[in-house]
Symmetry: C2
């Protein structure tokens, strides 16, 4: 699961627990990003760079260093400053911004109705927004400037500058984001209400910290998806881990696995193969969409069901590992173009590795696997996590910093009487949904939950296959955003 | 006016304009603080130190450095965790914390009624909370960690730790602050609603930034106080500046002034004398209380009126400078104990000098003097200000950072639909009141304005001389704070 880390080999020696808790789940597998993303014809944008300050919160000489922050704009639908038409901003997350722009079709879909300017801002230390160029990830002395608060301050600074340059001071800003970007979107509204009127925060696990969410939630949700598809499927996957580790612990067994799993190159550890399988099951659950899609990978509709169909198609007595390999191949090779699979030392050509750093500093999201899950049971071990971070980056996590800075405990009670204009949308199939806000907090901070939705499905382009509940969810989102804008224009006239 | 700066001599060569705009108005004159503050018998506290992290928002190795942050507690009235009794926190501002504790008697006065724990937290880089010990002010490499956001994060971190240690997680926190501390209190509620239930923000000029408040507001308010006392008083002061500079520009004239003004040591520049006078008029206006008090200095009730009475007691033909010196002596020597006056190189024994740094980085508060004021007319010159900061500290101000981070533009519109539980209290005699929030923003963010109040008078101990309007203002504050707590306890039961 450590495919985007700096030191995958070191990390592979970590035991199972560490591998679980440090999963950079938000990240698309780098293997996907090596291929050109498929460009929808209606995704077009101009690319810009903004001279951004390195450190907003201190004034030491180094703080003043500038870097070029990338952002994309599409103004073809924009009503312009004279009509005070809105600005829709995507709060970039842990990857290159083009990828998020191309997978947030919802903003393009609704821009004409709102006559909105679209702006997609890249997160510092990802894509091309590298404060220290190719040296950005060299050490904690450079990576240390990668943090969510600095990112929010970047967005605030860039948006104010952009509005001023466009003489668009009166144009309201609505922020959108999915996953970590959704967390940033919600926090952006909470911390910078003077800059952003409202936030659509999709599949944002802002409660995946401390003990706010049961630690087993993530893996239980993954497991439930498979169990709901078929008990046999669940059982096969559950028992595969022991078989895999037992066989792969011996050199000959590992060789056999690699041969059967069509490894491009023999793995040095069976845990690499385990992580590869694990990734397939987790990511497929995240993108368990009811229609064919190509977000993390090209996949058919209801891919978890399809995986289970593959497993169930084998006779009971067939080899377990053969079954799980066949299932995982759906994720890794639905297009049928892969001749072999890489289990180790995957390339990270798009500068995505920053998430491991974030998980080792502020994004400390404790997780464990219960006895009931289809993964090997494990308890969360913070000490081990911290040691791993010290080993990998020479950094100590600040375990409770996110809840100190952004809250989370008693969120309903706190925000019921504070704040407004946030939509938390979640699909209950998404393993991250357990860490999301699933109930209305007030009539101004609302939760839109779809039982059959997965990871920020609502942010994707509308398709002809969209089920009614998805159409309805997006309709509600549009209606709520419209209500924020209506109120804004009324207030402006007062 | 630069009495708390690092390099007073360099700064004295700045022209009048710079002197105006960089005034560390919040600061008590260091001369006051050389004397032991008078301890009220009901001000008692225990002193503690908290290991605080140097930089909350980055993760470079240096960020992890710890320093000892001072805080004071008084638990004699506290109901304790079992009754979920509240915690009242004072958000320390730019000076040693004891001084603020001793001048915020309101918290002591109301603690018994609320059965509140009192906590006074010292602001980093002031008093004894020096991250780099005696080297803290050496250069921008150390001073760079002095910022309002770091201070708020300090408070958040300390409060959560304290509550945990006291098993007081359920005890609601209300924050109090005056002047810069009042700005911090309001911002603390806005940025950390999950930590603080409400804020009493007294005399907090959160709108003294950018062009939010007329630049002449501060000096116009000072001038009005004198004019309202007597036209002659206003005229005498207004014409004194030209006479002073004219006379003092020649060596002999300066010697004469110093003699007449009872200088302990001859000043090297007439501007030092001018600043001394200026200080007397400004600070006296800030503490223009309707009762005898000893906040910045011991002063009689209605000291501006008293100053004008002194000026008016001279025959019209008497020497102007003699009149203004006599008036200023009320401020500097009401106790009658000063044998002579220091105009330059005043000591800064209490580590208060940080405000000049803050004014050169984020606290950029533009001010000017109109033709109608009693001060020499001047326009605001940002370029000159910035050059001065570069010269003094080697640092560039971030001119619009405060409004980027905390807002201010259209504050009513933004906060009408966002946020709650803030009282902005202001006294209209206070020169800072122009930069304050003077109208209710909503029924949850309210302004309490007293026509005859001065700089955070409401935060002082009740006295037998308190006028009815002051008693009523404090009564309202108590009532509103009680309503926040009532709501909190109700919510807790839901």
């Amino acid at each position: 699961m450590k495919m985007a880390s700096f030191l995958p080999i070191v990390l592979q020696f970590f035991c199972c627990i560490s591998a679980i808790e440090a999963i950079p789940i938000f990240l698309p597998p780098p293997s996907l990003l090596q291929s050109k993303p498929s460009l929808k014809s209606n995704v077009s944008y101009k690319t810009h760079f903004f001279p951004q300050v390195l450190d907003h919160f201190t004034f030491v000489p180094q703080s003043y260093k500038l870097f070029q922050q990338k952002y994309l704009t599409n103004s073809e639908y924009w009503g312009g400053p004279s009509t005070k038409a809105p600005i829709f901003v995507y709060a970039g997350n842990e990857g290159k911004i083009e990828w998020f722009a191309e997978n947030t079709g919802f903003m393009f879909d609704i821009a004409p109705k709102f006559r909105a300017l679209l702006v997609f801002i890249e997160h510092r230390f990802y894509g091309e927004s590298l404060p220290f160029g190719k040296d950005s990830s060299n050490s904690s002395a450079t990576l240390g400037y990668l943090s969510s608060q600095q990112a929010l301050a970047d967005y605030a600074t860039l948006i104010l500058s952009l509005k001023k340059n466009l003489s668009a001071e009166d144009c309201p800003v609505v922020v959108f984001g999915g996953s970590y970007g959704g967390m940033l979107a919600a926090w952006f509204r909470l911390k910078y209400p003077h800059i952003v009127l409202g936030a659509l925060s999709s599949s944002a696990p802002i409660l995946q910290f401390d003990d706010l969410t049961p630690l087993t939630s993530f893996y239980d949700t993954v497991s439930k998806a498979y169990k709901d598809s078929s008990n046999n499927c669940f059982d096969v996957i559950k028992k595969s881990w022991d078989e895999l580790i037992l066989l792969g612990s011996e050199e000959e067994g590992l060789l056999k696995i690699c041969r059967n799993f069509r490894a491009c190159k023999t793995a040095s550890s069976v845990y690499s193969v385990r992580n590869w399988l694990w990734e397939a099951f987790i990511y497929t659950t995240m993108v368990n969409y009811p229609m064919k899609a190509n977000f993390l990978k090209p996949l058919p509709a209801n891919p978890v069901k399809e995986m289970c169909r593959i497993i169930d198609s084998y006779p009971p007595e067939a080899d377990t590992l053969t079954k799980v390999f066949a299932a995982a191949s759906l994720y890794f090779n639905y297009s049928g173009t892969e001749k072999c699979f890489e289990f180790e030392k995957r390339r990270d050509p798009h500068g995505l590795s920053g998430w491991n750093w974030q998980a080792c500093t502020e994004m400390v999201m404790p997780m464990s696997c219960s006895e009931q899950s289809m993964f090997p049971p494990d308890n969360y071990n913070y000490t081990e996590k911290a040691e791993g971070c010290m080993l990998e980056f020479g950094v100590q996590p600040r375990r409770h910093w996110i809840t100190t800075e952004f809250g989370g405990h008693r969120i309903g009670m706190v925000l019921r009487r504070f704040g407004s204009n946030i939509i938390f949308s979640n699909g209950m199939l998404d393993p991250w949904s357990g860490g999301g806000v699933l109930k209305n907090i007030s009539d101004r901070i609302v939760a839109l939950v779809t039982e059959k939705g997965a990871h920020h499905l609502d942010l994707r382009f509308a398709t002809k296959e969209d089920p009614d509940w998805l159409i309805e969810q997006r309709r509600q989102e549009v209606e709520i955003i419209q209500s924020w804008l209506d109120q804004y224009y009324l207030d402006l006239q007062r």
